[in-house]
Symmetry: C2
Subunit: 275 residues, 2 copies
C-alpha cells in the first residue's frame, strides 16, 4: 500500500484548523510561526513556501525574517534572540542549511525551548532524548504514518539508513525509546544489504537518489523514505520506485513523508503553546 | 585478553593527579566534587565510597550532601541549585537511584551544564547528542578501553544490549556518532542471539546476571560488560564468565568497566573546569 502523504497532511491540517479556531475565539491575535532565513537558496525558498501555504490554509500566521548571506554567527545569534523575544512569535524555526561561515548548532541553541518547534537546540534535543516533549518533525511524521496505519514498533526489527540530525538519529532514538530493535546503518557499513533484508521496517534518510533497491528489501516490509535529493531538477527519494510493489507500506517521494513533516511543524507549534 | 579495569583506572588516576597538581600551584584551593544523596542505600553508599577513595588518591576533594529519604522533589531541586551555586563545588553529581517519590529527571535538570560531570541533565544530554562536550562516564569508560587497546569502531557491527539512560542509550549514540553500525537490543527483541552472534563488539548494560552466554558470542568478539547486579551478595555482570575464553577482549565484573567509570567521573570534572 502506498501512503498518500498529501492526504495525511490534509487531515492533520483540518485537525489543527479546528484547534486554531478554538484559540481564535479566546485570543486577540493569530498564532504565528517565525521563520529565519539567512541568504538565498532555491531549495530553502521552496520549503518556506510549503510552510507558508500550509499555515495560511490552517489559519496560522507566518513571518519570514530574511537576513543577508554574509551575516556573521554573532549577529545571527543576536537576531535569533530578538525574534524569540517577540511575544507574537509563538514558534521560531531557522531554515537550514545556513551559510558556510555560520556555526549552525550555536545558532540553533539560540532558540528558546518553548518556541523550538523543530527540536534542534541542544536543550530541546536533550528533552527529547529523555523521552519527553515533542518529536522532531520528520520523526513525528514517521509516527503519524505508523499511528494511522496501526503499525506496532515494539519488538520489531527496524533498520535506519543514515545517521543525520534531521532523520536518522532522532528517529532511531524515538524507536529505541519505544522498545523497537533498532539498527543504524551509515556509509561505513559493510554488507548493508544483509541488514536491510532482515528488516520488518526500513526508514531511510540519506539524501542519495535510489540507493535502496528492490533486491535489498524483503517482501512485505514497511519502507519509509525520508531522504530527498534532486536529480535533473526533480525531487527523488533514497528508495527506488521498484520497491513499492514488495512493500506492505511504502512512502513515495515526493508526496510521502515530506508533506506530513510540514504538517508536524505546525502540530508542534500548537503543542508547545498548549493550544 | 581480559581487561584489567583497576589498572586502567589507576593509570587515569595518575594522569589526573599530574593535572590536579598543576592546578594546585596556581589556585588557592583544591578541586572539589559535590555528591548529593537522598536517603540511605547500601549500594549507593558503596559507589560513593569508591568515588571518595579515587578522589582522595588523585588529590581531589569531595563533599557529600546527605538529604533525608522523605525529601520532596521541590526541596531537593532547591538543594541542587544551592549546591551548584557554591563556587567551591567544581562539579555536582546526584547519586542514583533517588527515592521513589522524586521526579528524577527534573532533579537532574537542576545541575548546571558546566558542573554536570555525569551528563544527565537534559541540557548536557542534548550537547552530547549533538556530538559536543564530554561523554557520560560509562560511555567514556568504553571509549578509554577502545583507545587503550586500539579498537577501531567505524564500520564495525556493534550490538548494544539494553537501552537505559546510563549505559545503552548514550553508548549507542556515541558509537553512531563515531560511524559504527549499531544495533540496540532490548527485552522485546526476538532472536537476540542471532544479532549477538554477528557482532564484532558487544556492549551490555542490562543489569541481569549472566544473560549473555557463550553460545551467543562469536569467537574473537570484543565483549564489554557494563551491567552490574547483585547475586547472593556478590557483584555480577550481564555476561557469563564462560564468554571470556572466546572473546578477543573481555571486561570482567567486578574489576572491568566499573573502576574506569569512577575514573571518568573525575576526568570529566577536570575537563569541564578546563584543568
Amino acid at each position: 500500500m502506498t501512503i498518500d502523504g498529501k492526504r495525511i497532511a490534509e487531515e492533520i491540517r483540518r485537525e489543527l484548523e479546528v484547534r486554531v479556531r478554538g484559540v481564535g475565539k479566546s485570543a486577540s491575535r493569530r498564532i504565528r510561526l517565525a521563520i529565519i532565513q539567512a541568504g538565498e537558496n532555491e531549495v530553502s525558498a521552496k520549503f518556506i513556501k510549503q510552510k507558508e501555504k500550509f499555515a495560511s490554509e490552517a489559519g496560522i500566521e507566518t513571518r519570514i525574517y530574511n537576513l543577508p548571506q554574509g551575516i556573521f554567527t554573532n549577529e545571527l545569534r543576536k537576531k535569533v534572540a530578538e525574534v524569540c523575544h517577540i511575544k507574537q512569535n509563538d514558534g521560531v524555526i531557522i531554515q537550514l542549511p545556513l551559510p558556510k561561515q555560520i556555526n549552525t548548532q550555536y545558532i540553533l541553541n539560540g532558540i528558546i525551548l518553548k518556541k523550538d518547534v523543530d527540536v534542534l537546540s541542544e536543550k530541546a534535543m536533550g528533552k527529547f532524548l529523555a523521552g519527553k516533549g515533542i518529536l522532531p518533525p520528520v520523526t513525528g511524521a514517521v509516527k503519524e504514518i505508523f499511528d494511522r496505519h496501526k503499525v506496532e514498533v515494539k519488538g520489531k526489527n527496524i533498520v535506519i539508513v543514515g545517521a543525520g540530525m534531521l532523520v536518522g538519529k532522532p528517529t532511531a532514538i524515538w524507536l529505541i525509546n519505544e522498545g523497537a530493535t533498532v539498527t543504524v546503518l551509515n556509509e561505513f557499513t559493510l554488507e548493508a544489504k544483509s541488514y536491510l533484508l532482515k528488516a520488518n521496517i526500513i526508514v531511510s534518510g540519506v539524501g542519495k537518489p535510489g540507493i535502496i533497491t528492490e533486491d535489498m528489501v524483503r517482501e512485505g516490509a514497511i519502507v519509509i523514505d525520508a531522504g530527498t535529493s534532486e536529480q535533473s531538477g526533480k525531487l527523488v527519494g533514497d528508495v527506488s520506485p521498484d520497491v513499492e510493489k514488495m512493500a506492505s507500506l511504502f512512502t513515495p517521494v515526493p508526496g510521502g513523508v515530506g508533506p506530513i513533516t510540514v504538517a508536524m511543524v505546525f502540530k508542534n507549534l500548537l503543542e508547545l503553546n498548549r493550544y
